[in-house]
Subunit: 162 residues, 2 copies
Amino acid sequence: NMCVNTEYIIGEVPGIRVGDSFDYKAEMSVVGLHFALMSGVDYLKTRRGRMLATSIVASEGTDYNNVFMGDQLLYCGIGKDQTSLEKGNRALMCSMKQNSPVRVTRGYDLGNGKTSFVYQGLYVVETYWVEERAAGKRVFRFKLRRKVLGGGESSREASLQI
Amino acid sequence: NMCVNTEYIIGEVPGIRVGDSFDYKAEMSVVGLHFALMSGVDYLKTRRGRMLATSIVASEGTDYNNVFMGDQLLYCGIGKDQTSLEKGNRALMCSMKQNSPVRVTRGYDLGNGKTSFVYQGLYVVETYWVEERAAGKRVFRFKLRRKVLGGGESSREASLQI
DNA sequence: TAGACGTAGA
DNA sequence: TCTACGTCTA
């Protein structure tokens, strides 16, 4: 890949601050904020074989229906067939159970096909449920809440979770 | 777009030499060698409304069956429905009629999903035909030949064609 | 709005 | 091999 920083990490990425914006997913990949060029969820596997989400991108448009409200984010799950918790969706569930922070980047639709991605900071998955949609489609919905800053949780503690 | 050089031009791109290689289509786009990130054919419309191909990328793999043999290239047409000459295919046909040079870049499959793109120089479309494939699929096939270097055709003459 | 010789990762 | 919250042009 074209990444400089190639390490999947939980929590803040050194050098990246809340409010930092990017024009392309590829830029986010290069700096290690979000590696996947297309997928909306990055995740890793711990030594114990546990999956943990590292980063999500919540974009506008299509029928994702991601909702930012205050310090909350209602994030639509990933994938065509969301009948079972797999991949990114499973990782988000595991992050919830572990109270593991997830980086959130918001994708703004600037019109004329342009997008701007703005890093929102660390969020924690509080709960999730299943939504029934038209044509019998099911999607997972995750509720995340912005992590309180200065909560005394050091990056060392975060790394110990792994 | 993320391009620095944003001008579609016929012929050589200043600063790009035969043999120059690129890891990503995005790099080729930035330098103005080939703008399209996905499509294999770049083209422009002249003031007279004539289409002319500026650049093609001939990749290995899938069922493109592009064949480099000596100074010749057998290039598979573009698109799902190749029953009529449209877009890039039409542009290549027009380039043939106008004897207008087309930049050719070869895409090497390095395995493990990696690709290397190497600029091959200017080619001229000599002829094209239709190939029948399985399942009644039709594809256009273009025969290009490497342009003889030092042929005395100046870039000014090339621009006059437009 | 849809199509296109892309990329990385599971 | 396939999927994936991309990105550009027509």
